[in-house]
Amino acid sequence: MDADTLKLAVFAEELAVLAAKTISDLSKVIRDSHTKDVAEILDDADTTYNGIIARAKI
């Protein structure tokens, strides 16, 4: 396997993990939403948005 093929294989695997994580995260958000009120849900959303903004500046 040459270096480019190996790089592609590694990235494909990471992509699959990312896809699984995305689905898992969304399932958790929907599942947890039944037991949380609007303020709690928005607190988590705000924390996530703020984390995204902070990381983008690194």
């Binding site: 790089k7 994580k21 939403s33």
Partner: protein, 140 residues
């Protein structure tokens, strides 16, 4: 006459229980978008670490991701207030949808096909939640 009174009571009850549900759904949609957006960012950072995306490209797409996140924070603030006062969140919904569309357009310009695929995957999962926010916009 009695039927009308019963009907009126049912309508009022539905309205009272229906309104908070709208804000609850909007909050869940925003939270789901936030998590999907974080995964998009993870994918981009992974692409940079793997050498399939440059720091320059990361900086360019990050600008649009941050724009969506900032509009998400503004939308969350509006939902929080509206859930108590019933104030309109229309302007914040419009701004959020506009920012998301710009991010989608920008993602199509990502040079590396694999990274474009990763970002597209994340944005597609976010789109389901964005559709809930857009439905709110269309329903008002």
């Amino acid at each position: 006459m009695r039927r009308r009174k019963i009907a009126a009571v049912i309508v009022v009850a539905l309205l009272l229980t229906g309104c908070p549900k709208v804000y609850h759904n909007l909050a869940v949609a925003s939270q789901a978008v936030a998590h999907s957006l974080k995964n998009v960012q993870d994918g981009i950072d992974q692409a940079v670490a793997d050498g399939v995306m440059t720091q320059q490209e990361r900086a360019e797409i990050s600008e649009y991701i941050v724009n969506v996140a900032e509009n998400g924070l503004t939308l969350d603030k509006a939902i929080r207030e509206a859930s108590k006062s019933g104030a309109s969140v229309q302007a914040q919904v419009d701004a959020f949808l506009s920012a998301f569309k710009k991010l989608q357009a920008q993602s199509l310009g990502i040079r590396d096909g694999k990274t474009r695929l990763a970002v597209s995957l994340g944005l597609t999962s976010a789109e389901t939640s964005v559709a809930i926010i857009a439905a709110f916009q269309n329903g008002k």
